[in-house]
Amino acid sequence: MKKSIDARLRILAIFLVIWGGVIVATLWYMQVVKGEKYQERAVRNRVRLVRISAPRGTIFDRNGVVLADNRPSFDVVINPTEVEDRERLIATLSSILNLSPERLNRRLDTFRDRPFEPVRLAADIGIVAATILEEKGPELPGVDVQVNPIRSYPYGEVPVHLLGYVGQISPRELVKLKDSGYRAQDDIGKMGVEEAYDRYLRGEPGAEQLQVDARGYRDKVLSHKEPRPGDDIYLTLDIRAQEILEELLEEWNGAAVAMDPRNGDLLALVSHPSFDPNLLIRPVWKEDAERVFSDPEAPLMNRALSGEYPPGSPFKLVMALTALSSRVSTPKTTFDCRGVFLLGESTFRCWLPGGHGELDLQQAIKHSCNIYFYNLGLEVGVERISKMARAIGLGERSGLEIRGESGGLIPDRAWKKKIIGESWYTGDTVNLSIGQGYLLVTPLQMASMGCIIANRGTLYQPRIVKRMISPEGEIIKEFEPVIRKKLDVPEEIWSELLSGMVRVVNEEHGTGRAAAHPVITVAGKSGTVQVGTPPEYGKHAWFLALAPADNPEVVLAIILEDAESGPRDAAPLAGEFMRRYFNVLEFQ
């Protein structure tokens, strides 16, 4: 029995030997006998599909000023198989491009294992170098100057945090977006509007069917499909306002947000320090990009959306709103400020050591008296405060389309129990009453808070994009203002808050005197928040301004890190902005 199996296994072995022989003979015939004939065919018959990238859509500001478009970039491309004298080539290129030979060699070697593919050796070399290279062309076989579209940001670092920038798609993004038609080496928006609206801006790539020769060079074009350019986007941003704020924040780390309270339009959004996106869009030389990415000041961070800060005194407006709308107090309610406030064993102080004396609500807002709001806070209680804060949109993301928005934090009893593991103390309510303690808001939320007051109870969704227009000129999408919150609070209460804010800026001894405008009435509220316990950590300075006070068109929130105080540092910047935005000359 076993013998017969072995015998049949031998028959199987013979079959295999025969088939192996057939295969070897066939290969010998194809590769050795007919090898040359096949090599010729390999050199001839080739059809390749080449993608033509689409020009990216242009981004405009609200008045049609170009913020991002495409310009031609002169790139040096090497066809490795055509290069005759590599050393001479590198030496010549090094002198023309003003780049070290080591750098060029390193770049060329990166692609050594793909001998047939053209290598983009240097990008955006400028027209002068490009012309010299073109002239020297015949002496330098294998070198080609190509013109490719490159993203260009004429305003550089000014609008970068809102606008974002483009860069080469990363492997991780590719895995996620493969099914949406993205390919390796595609450009993709990395931040801001460029990222959020990438699928509109990128357009549709075209393609060319090429007949190529053995080394991959094009012989002739068999078919051609034009790319479809991306859609154009009009932002709500006013580059004029953006430039003013960028300049004012020059010396500071901080952020500023300007909005139109009547529809939620973001007029300006500045985060400082900033960076020039033009340095990041070409992946060829990494050094410049590395510098931006590794900067300890984190210029890539968008402080206006992601930065979370204690709101400080501007939160007193929310306190006043809570107390008045819940009828706990009236505008006539007064408290006596003696400079200190005793609660059990603890002492809470007013910022003015001697105290403000007897104050009503508007005076308390004007002088930013802590004692008044401590008293109010204890009467209102933490539940009502946090409920009102949430009702006006604090503690949650606004739902902005661009990435990186933080939600801030509204503390309450349940939160403290869960996260800190302690009960809520009366002292916590006291701190909360002046916008300190656990409370955190983003500059965008601060601006939204100003908007809901300015607009007397109606808060619009922050809007960045006004409309999108197809390359054929049709409006694809028009973004209408969307109401985000509507508060049912009597008209007089809003007037009361606004009058208090007007007095902050326009009366003797107000904390926002520096924000005044010679012609129109600015309303505002300053804030100074202690960051850490040691005083050398400095403070953050806030200013929230709206103008014109009787019918606000602009709300501005400014925060400066490591400053001395809101009235001293932030208020003058708000004033300067208002004076330049509502240009005095226009009123004369």
Partner: protein, 365 residues
């Protein structure tokens, strides 16, 4: 289980052959997937190395396990793969127009590959237990029926190549086991007569593949394209090849499916006739070792298991290379240990591990 004993009796020649082929295979995958990795961002090479290492570990573990204990569970294991194949028909993931994959944990696996393992386990089990009936019809018909169930499910996916490999493997093992040659030939005759009827069950693309095989110049830019490009790749490799990563057919993306079904063309183009001979010599060496294992084994189950392993591996090698060289129609079968693929690579290493176990346990019976 005495590990030292197993190590002592292990067939080191087979292990060396398998390792050599694995190295050549991953190098070929690296080259064949170069452009694809650049375009899609998927690192084929890295994945293949991971699967190779996992497969080799399974190979070593299995060679230490008594193959008889594995064969004893043959019907249960075959039931499992059949269950998975049924599951695919119902809820499988469709890729490239076919439902072959199923998500298990974080992996997508191709149960049709594992069905090849359970097929030879099942055959070894049935044919050795029922050896008294070997002169009867049932000795041939029952195993054929057992093989037909998974084969038809795989045909439904549709995966013609994998389904067709079940036929020579099943009949081959029955033949080695001692089934009557006359009966086997009768079955083959009936199948040949039924072949025209099967034609109507084929999908359109399968029909064109077969027609193009008969005349590749029928449609050189469409269906005949693959075969033509593959032949050009092989032929233009010449005696010494164009060098690793330097094949124009490969690097300029003229060869479709070049990291899986047509990887032999990449090897032939870049390493030439010399490289092809080297690869074939390693295969020949592995088959020689497998035959020696079969002959040295003292009991029927082991012999049949090894015969099944040889038939599966040789079937793939023979058909895949024959397909690349234009000797057979392009039905799509991987080249063992060289083609890219997780389930595929692991399946072949499991089969080889089972054969290694037959050798390591040859003195037990």
């Amino acid at each position: 289980m005495n590990i030292l004993r197993v190590l002592k009796y292990l067939d080191w020649f087979l292990l060396v052959g398998v390792l050599l082929l694995s190295v050549i295979g991953t190098m070929a995958v690296y080259s064949a997937s170069y452009q694809l990795s650049a375009a899609s961002g998927i690192l084929y090479f890295k994945r293949q190395v991971i699967w190779m290492v996992a497969g080799l570990l399974l190979f070593l573990i299995l060679s230490a396990v008594d193959y008889r204990k594995v064969v004893a569970h043959a019907y249960f294991l075959a039931g499992c793969t059949t269950f998975l194949l049924v599951a695919i028909v119902i809820l499988g993931e469709t890729r490239f127009g076919a439902r072959r994959w199923i998500q298990i944990g974080g992996f997508t696996v191709q149960p049709s590959e594992f069905a090849k393992i359970t097929l030879i386990l099942m055959l070894a089990r049935f044919l050795s237990v029922k050896v008294d009936r070997r002169r009867r019809w049932s000795y041939i018909l029952l195993p054929c029926l057992m093989a037909a169930i998974p084969a038809l499910l795989i045909l439904k996916q549709p995966d013609l190549g994998t389904a067709l490999i079940f036929l020579p493997v099943t009949l081959g093992v029955i033949f080695v086991a001692g089934g009557r040659l006359k009966y086997i030939l009768i079955i083959l005759l009936i199948l040949a007569l039924l072949a025209p009827a099967f034609w109507f069950f084929l999908k359109d693309y399968q029909k064109t593949r077969l027609l193009v095989f008969i005349n590749p110049d029928l449609d050189p830019s469409g269906a005949g394209y693959t075969i033509l490009q593959s032949k050009i790749a092989i032929g233009s490799g010449g005696i010494w090849g164009k060098g690793w990563l330097a094949g124009t057919q490969n690097m300029l993306s003229f060869l479709p499916e070049r990291q899986t079904d047509f990887i032999f063309s990449v090897v032939a183009e870049e390493w030439g006739f010399a490289g092809c001979l080297l690869v074939l010599a390693i295969y020949a060496f592995i088959f020689l070792r497998l035959f020696i294992i079969g002959w040295k084994c003292r009991e029927m189950t082991g012999k049949l298991l090894v015969a099944g392993g040889i038939l599966v591996l040789a079937g793939h090698v023979g058909i895949n290379i024959g397909m690349a060289a234009g000797l057979l129609p392009a039905t799509g079968l991987p080249l063992p240990l060289i083609s890219y693929g997780g389930s595929v690579t692991i399946t072949f290493l499991i089969i080889l591990g089972l054969c290694e176990s037959v050798y390591a346990h040859r003195y037990y019976y």
